[in-house]
Amino acid sequence: MNKQNLVALVAGILFGFGLMLSGMANPEKVMNFLDLAGTWDPTLAFVMGGALLISVPAFHFVLKRPSAWTGGRFQLPTRKDIDSRLVAGATIFGIGWGMSGYCPGPALAALSFASASVLMTVVAMLIGMAIHDRLLRLN
């Protein structure tokens, strides 16, 4: 296996395990986090806090390096402008997140349940991506 694939596999496994352990892949828990006025579950603030606690300082030092371990350059988004597509896209995503309780990572990690329900949800998400990419011909 080449090094890039190995790095991606290890990162993916840790990521998927973390999503399940944290409860982020449980849509009921996500929707309770978003339900400030009702049954609020503050856990997801700790999930994001835990991730940022180490990623913020680590990114700072990692990005000072000239290149990644496997030799390639860092491939980072370069745009700095706040455009209407960013805000509209994030709004549409947030509405869908509130309706379904799933965001992309947790939906994929939840495929491990081998349930038809999660599979249907992931297919719906992929259809949404395809509609955007085919119809709007953007990105």
Partner: protein, 143 residues
Amino acid sequence: MTIIDFTPVTGLLGGLMIGLAAIILLLGSGRIAGVSGVLAGAMGQASAGDRQWRWFFLAGLVIGGLLYLSFNDFQWGAAAATPAWPVLIGALLVGFGTRMGNGCTSGHGICGISRFSVRSVVATLTFMVAGFITVFVARHVIA
């Protein structure tokens, strides 16, 4: 407000693992662990030579889930039930919106904020607020 099901310890531990995964992918391969972006690239948006690692990462997400389930024998109710139409419509909007806004909870919310990207901070605040409002409307206005 009633606080329920609060599990700060597993939340924090899971969050640390997610953060570590993002660090490994950046330090190891120089790539951003944004799931919607990795997925869109794997499905065809990226050039042919830039797709393979994406499938390894995506497969890892499922393998990580399986590994977790090998220690914990249970299934969340939501994963077992037939998805109601709001879930499917919602998932469709998640797919569409994350492509339009160039990122999701991981790409903007973790990696973007870690780079102090203004676009990612704006996107994260926007989808959080949209999510809070959507659940408020669904549970306390319509229902």
